[in-house]
């Protein structure tokens, strides 16, 4: 397995000899699941659910950046709009939580299709700027639209009953539902990366003109991964709205787009598990260092600078290098 020693920024995920999920990936997924099943008996479930939602958000973002090679600076648009739609569906339409989340996810996918089909025509910094510009429009829409509640957002969203049966009011019930959603989302992302489609994505990321010369219509692949990433970011945002019973402007604000970049880079862009670690660290800092007030942002900045200077590949990226195994 570890026959290939290499020194590069992006770890090679999925080598040809490996059939299916490599053993160490299975172990990590199982370990994550075991930890997540015990955690709500030790830590505050709402905090854990926040970590889970952001972990999924960061992984969805990483799918686009780390595996599609596309830096979006407007992912808050999908996270936030899904959050609004999910909250609206649960509160006004009275949908069950799983249907509300599904509706929110679908909305994010549609938005991703609309924005993506325009944004993928540009590359690099221009692509990032176009996605940011559209995200700002979504933010403006969220401030103005009648159903979003402006500065107040959509408050006291009912958690409802799962499938109309199981009450989601107790934190732990909701926690296990959220865990199932996020875990499924992570497995979907894993599968996308390790699919025939994922192989083409990696090829495009590595050398776009060459992919074209092999006959791949790269724009369609880019759009497909953009929509998938937007939908999964939406899944995270929609779930978050049910957890906090709130959809607010924070979710669509540009700082949210920045935060997800930070989480991904800190954990390790282009790694499978890095964004989960990055999200856990950032959310934990925001929660446990909340007493420092505005200083949290400064501490975050310092950590980011250190990470860029000392371990550019991110925490898991560096670990992956040490172990000589793709993580």
């Amino acid at each position: 397995m570890a026959a290939n020693t290499h020194t590069l920024d992006l770890p090679a995920v999925g080598r040809p000899g490996a059939i299916g999920m490599p053993t160490h990936h299975k172990l990590i997924f199982l370990g994550f699941l075991a930890l997540a099943l015990v955690a709500p008996y030790v830590l505050y479930p709402v905090f854990l659910m926040k970590v889970l939602c952001f972990a999924l958000f960061a992984c969805a973002f990483n799918l686009l950046l780390g595996f599609g090679g596309l830096l979006s600076f407007g992912h808050a648009a999908y996270f936030g709009s899904a959050s609004y739609v999910s909250a609206h569906a649960a509160k006004v339409w009275g949908l069950t939580p799983e249907l509300s989340i599904l509706t929110g996810t679908l909305a994010a996918a549609v938005l991703g299709l609309a924005i993506g089909s325009l944004a993928i025509r540009r590359q690099g910094i221009y692509f990032a700027m176009v996605t940011l510009a559209f995200a700002q429009m979504v933010f403006f829409f969220s401030v103005q639209a009648p159903f979003t509640g402006g500065e107040d957002g959509i408050q006291s969203v009912p958690r409802g009953h799962l499938f109309g049966l199981i009450s989601m009011a107790p934190d732990r019930n909701l926690y296990f539902f959220v865990l199932a959603v996020v875990f499924a989302g992570l497995l979907i992302i894993y599968r996308i990366i390790h699919s025939p489609f994922g192989q083409v994505l990696k090829a495009i990321r590595d050398n776009e003109p060459r992919s074209v010369s092999l006959g791949y219509r790269v724009d369609r692949y880019k759009l497909a991964v953009f929509v998938l990433s937007a939908a999964l970011a939406g899944l995270a945002g929609a779930t978050k709205a049910i957890v906090f019973q709130l959809a607010s402007l924070t979710d669509v604000y540009w700082t949210m787009s920045g935060e997800v970049v930070l989480m991904t880079l800190l954990g390790g862009m282009g790694t499978v598990f890095g964004p989960i670690v990055g999200a856990a660290i950032i959310v934990a800092m925001q929660n446990y260092l909340a007493t420092f007030g505005a200083w949290v942002t400064v501490i975050q900045g310092v950590i980011f600078v250190i990470s860029v200077l000392l371990f550019r590949e991110g925490i898991i990226g560096v670990l992956s290098k040490w172990l000589k195994k793709p993580l």
Binding site: D206, N207, V212, G215
Partner: protein, 256 residues
């Protein structure tokens, strides 16, 4: 003309802000031939390649491939017709293994690979063929090595294996020998000779001994225009060609 032409360009012109990089070039490539495109630096050879494969949009002119006008087509679609190009700098997928590099081309047989829900295990059926192709270019032992780690000559060989995986009718090779050591040149030139059976090759090449030994027909470009055309013996005696090359050596003009 009885000659079977696979690719032809008529009046091909590319203008960059008032500068004519390629000026009214007519080109006919016979099916099954190895056709070389030579000329001093800055003559417009690579631009010509980019125009023929539509990586650049011609200002004027038409391109016909296999009797079909491809002037308005997208580059990926041209590749799908069996007209595949290589690049001047080695074009491998650096963070994928040699086997994966070749396999990504073989994967095109599946049509579009939008199946993100399927495991990449379905691709393992292509591994056998990929290994065969790697073996053909002497890279079988490097199958699991990342492309970025291969030495330069091997990268070019990998690129050819990847191109061959598409089984193209026609290859456009942009300076396949650039930056290579002598032993690599011999290996790759032997390889090009072998793969040219049942295929048409159009190549840009600076190494004139390679051009002399491999090509059936040569087109000489200078300042974006066709200067001469014929076999090596005819072209190398053409006073205009000699002037273009010698003139370049003495004045150092045309670089960059």
């Amino acid at each position: 003309m009885a000659e079977d032409v696979i690719l032809s360009a008529a009046g091909l012109t590319k203008e960059f802000k008032g500068f004519l990089a390629v000026n009214n070039v007519d080109l006919k490539v016979a099916r099954g031939a190895i056709h070389a495109l030579i000329g001093p630096n800055g003559a417009g050879k690579t631009t010509c390649f980019n125009l023929l494969t539509k990586f650049l949009q011609p200002t004027r002119g038409t391109i016909v491939y296999n009797g079909r006008d491809i002037s308005a087509m997208q580059p990926a679609d041209i590749a799908r017709l069996g007209l595949v190009r290589s690049f001047q700098i080695s074009a491998v997928f650096p963070h994928m293994t040699a086997l994966e590099n070749v396999r990504i081309a073989l994967q095109r047989q599946r049509g579009d690979s939008f199946d993100f829900w399927r495991s990449e295990r379905v691709l393992s059926t292509l591994n056998g063929r990929a290994l065969e192709l790697l073996d053909e270019v002497g890279l079988a032992e490097f199958a699991d090595a990342l492309a970025v780690e291969l030495p330069y000559g091997r990268k070019r060989a990998l690129e050819i294996a990847t191109t061959l995986a598409l089984n193209p009718d026609m290859l456009l090779l942009d300076e396949p020998m650039a930056g290579m050591a002598q032993e690599d040149i011999e290996r790759i030139s032997g390889l090009i000779g072998r793969i040219s059976k049942n295929r048409t090759i159009l190549m840009v090449e600076h190494n004139l001994s390679v051009v002399a030994s491999l090509s059936d027909r040569i087109t000489v470009l200078a300042r974006g225009q066709v200067l001469a055309e014929g076999d090596y013996a005819a072209v190398s005696k053409d006073p205009r060609v000699i002037e273009a090359y010698i003139g370049e050596v003495y004045t150092g003009a045309g670089h960059g």
